[in-house]
């Protein structure tokens, strides 16, 4: 069925609304990566099987909905029952029968499945009230976790494609751009370039054709916001791109998705096929003159392809080596034609901005960084997951109020933002307001929004080594400073981790970093030394401990630590069984010992010991 006019779209929306009203209760089951690993697909099937046999008032098989990531991954798999918003977490397949019989049939709450705040012991029935959710404001993620990403009807019933209808009904392209400019929206991919300015430049470019590209190559380790949007609400990305195409006069677009996100590819493809089927993509969209079509381009596992010129070469089927961008890619982009490249989250904001207006959006966040930002919380933090908060929120609000603080109530050491191009911020920066400029002023960056929290058991020299290793592997190898510079920087960093570094080499590293930053060809190299520079800026004492005293305060660097079993050991044999070096000896129920010579410091024993009977010295 082709929806060939705006009136038909409105009519269709009303029809779906009426139809969906019949389904009073909704059981939302998160099939995001986190919950999926916990077996949420099995839970979904179990619900469907039982409900097929059972007749319950207001509950149909269609009530069971699979959704994208609901955010609170630490508590997954989760089942949410709407409209009451009952939040069951850490659900297992065996619980399904109980949920159906007690909650759905009798309206009883199963308390043991509810969320209990570990600090206050308060039990929450409704998800919206949980502190993790209460502080959030969702714009880009508005539908993620709420709708079935496979159903275009779910998107439409929640107001989807009405922004598109709005512009087609009565906004000129420059009016659309005007709204985007006024909203103050800045690119969510990292650099924070004004989206409106990008669109204006492309729209005005005389060369044709114009392309619209969506960057879904979320390569930053520790970030998964874009993944969740592409998987959980693919139509919002499409709608954002179609609006952009209208504004800049484009007929062809690509979504570049990383290979590591297979589900995102599947869901996006389904969305594209559906949109095409209903006349929301292709020729004469909604019966107007607008013609725009989209294709998915799959990346091949190269971090550097997140860089715009490399991404464009990759879309064109070439190797993803960046080129110097002295002519901006918005003018000479894909196939050397004017191209708008925005990231997934940026496009996801567009429909809301059009719908609610630039002023509404600009009022959220800070003056220079408007709106909200999605972050992925990971690392040694209690409430790992996906969040969206207004810009300007303090780091500590994110980490403590939403994130629930550090695992095992250990001491916070640092938070890494911005991925390999970003940096680590120490405890005295927890009062920082999170926005593009503040983070950059403090030696880190917003990046795409990954936040990895580190506790006192993390070694910052090791963290720097980790990122440099990553960058050495991911450097395309084209220009000398990045290829050779990062390689040497990593080697020197490794020496420090082994306790063999010298103070002169530290100085050499700092000097080398300067050349890599100003001498490299693309953003990967230009920001490559950031992990090193930000850790040495805030944690110089740790570097000095490695260099001067051959000590690793974090207890991580293998060459500088020894493992010892203390008197708490109850002889459970757990450590012995994982010791690949056969360095642990001891009888059952007797204290074990570690042979320091044989021990290769892999740390497996430490990781499996449940009673803290192993010390790192």
């Amino acid at each position: 069925m082709k929806i060939d006019s705006i009136a038909k779209l409105d009519k269709w929306r009303k029809e779906i609304q009426t139809k969906q009203k019949a389904i009073k209760t909704k059981i939302l089951i998160c099939l995001g990566p986190g919950c999926l690993a916990g077996g949420s697909d099995k839970i979904l099937k179990e619900f469907q099987t039982i409900l097929k046999k059972k007749k319950i008032k207001d509950v149909l098989v269609e009530s069971v909905k699979k959704t994208g990531c609901h955010g609170f991954c630490a508590r997954g798999p989760m089942v949410i029952i709407e409209p009451l918003g009952i939040f069951y977490s850490k659900v297992k397949k065996v619980h399904v029968k109980d949920i159906i019989e007690k909650t759905l049939q009798k309206g009883e709450i199963i308390e043991k499945l509810l969320y209990k705040d570990p600090d206050t012991d308060k039990i929450y029935k409704e998800w919206r009230k949980i502190p993790f959710y209460a502080r959030q404001q969702k714009i880009a993620l508005r539908n993620v976790g709420q709708i079935d990403p496979d159903e275009i009807t779910d998107y439409i019933v929640n107001g989807g494609y009405s922004a598109l209808a709005k512009i087609l009904k009565g906004m000129k392209p420059d009016e659309v751009i005007d709204q985007v400019s006024k909203s103050g929206l800045r690119g969510r991919g990292g650099a924070g370039f004004s989206t409106g300015r990008k669109w204006v430049t492309c729209a005005k470019a005389e060369e044709n054709p114009h392309y619209v590209l969506c960057n879904g190559d979320e390569g930053d380790p520790g970030a998964f916001m874009d993944r969740c949007i592409m998987e959980g609400d693919p139509h919002t990305v499409l709608e954002g791109m179609i609006i952009c195409a209208y504004a800049v006069g484009s007929q062809e677009g690509y979504i570049y998705v990383r290979e590591e996100y297979p589900l995102a590819v599947v869901n996006l493809q389904k969305a594209i096929d559906d949109a095409r089927k209903f006349g929301l993509l292709g020729d004469n969209i909604l019966g107007t003159d607008l013609c725009f079509d989209l294709k998915i381009s799959k990346g091949g596992g190269a971090f550097v392809c997140g860089e715009s010129s490399a991404l464009m070469r990759s879309v064109a089927g070439e190797i993803g080596e960046p080129r110097a961008k002295y002519v901006r890619s918005v003018l000479k982009g894909l196939h050397d034609k004017p191209t708008v490249l925005n990231n997934v989250e940026t496009f996801a904001n567009i429909p809301v901005i059009i719908e609610k207006g630039a002023d509404w959006f600009a009022a959220i966040g800070t003056k220079k960084s408007t709106g909200t930002k999605a972050f992925s919380l990971a690392g040694k933090i209690k409430n790992t997951g996906l969040i969206e908060v207004p810009m300007g929120i303090k780091l500590k609000e994110i980490i403590y109020d939403i994130g629930g603080g550090i695992n095992d109530n250990r001491k916070f050491k640092a938070v890494q933002t911005g991925g390999p191009s970003g940096g680590c911020l120490p405890a005295d920066k927890l009062d920082l307001e999170v926005d593009f400029d503040t983070l950059a002023d403090n030696g880190s960056m917003m990046g795409s929004g990954g936040m990895v929290v580190m506790d006192d058991r993390t070694c910052m020299v090791d963290v720097s080594r980790y990122f440099l290793n990553f960058l050495v592997e991911e450097s395309c190898g084209k220009c000398v400073p990045c290829r050779e510079g990062l390689f040497q920087l990593h080697k020197l960093n490794e020496k420090i981790c082994e306790g063999k570094g010298t103070e002169d080499e530290l100085k050499l590293m700092e000097n080398l970093s300067k050349t890599i930053i100003s001498g490299s060809l693309c953003g990967l190299g230009q920001s490559g030394p950031n992990p090193f520079l930000s850790t040495i800026m805030y944690f110089r004492d740790e570097y000095e401990a490695h260099v001067k005293k051959q000590e690793c305060p974090g207890g991580v660097c293998k060459k500088l630590i020894t493992y010892k079993i203390n008197d708490d050991c109850n002889g459970c044999m757990a450590c012995l069984s994982v010791c690949a070096a056969s360095a642990i000896t001891g009888k059952k129920k007797e204290q074990h010992t570690i042979d320091e010579v044989k021990c290769d410091r892999c740390g497996a024993c430490y990781a499996v010991c449940n009673i803290n009977a192993i010390d790192i010295i």
Binding site: L36, R227, K298, G299
Partner: protein
């Protein structure tokens, strides 16, 4: 392992004959054979009318392509930031102890291949291991080998 060139040709013939689709065609071949057989480089180059070196260059630039046969079961250990600080290395060590191969290697019986991937975007459940597209979160290192063998 002997791969029938006709089979490769068939995969190629089903793809658009467009230089811009080079990476996609290579992906399609890999999807079918789990790696890029040597012959495929020449066949793709012929099909698209581009030099073999260009095809080979792309096949070696992108990490997801493998030019050597891979095992029946692909084990991916995530080494994203979150997984790193939560002990991804331990999983790799334990897998080495358990099945005797390191990342990038394949067991002699062609049963397992271990690969390290840079973040699969499931950071909230770090450390993460993926066995044939099945995700395992919060992997305890001493259970890694068991999880792999169970599949």
């Amino acid at each position: 392992m002997i791969i029938d060139s006709n089979k490769i040709q068939k995969v190629i013939d089903d793809s658009p004959q467009d230089k811009k689709q080079l990476i996609m065609i290579l992906q399609n071949i890999q999807l079918e054979f789990h790696y890029l057989p040597k012959e495929s480089i020449g066949l793709v180059s012929e099909y698209l009318g581009m030099p073999q070196s260009t095809v080979y260059s792309a096949a070696t630039f992108y990490k997801s392509f493998s030019l050597v046969p891979r095992g029946e079961n692909i084990i991916k250990v995530c080494k994203g930031t979150a997984c790193h600080i939560k002990g991804a290395d331990l999983i790799i060590d334990q897998l080495y102890a358990g099945i005797g191969i390191k990342p990038g290697q394949t067991t002699k019986d062609m049963k397992y291949t271990i690969e390290v991937v840079n973040c699969v975007g499931a950071c909230a459940m770090a450390p993460v291991m993926i066995v044939n597209d099945k995700y395992f979160g919060e992997v305890k290192c001493n259970r890694a080998t068991k999880l792999v063998k169970k599949g």
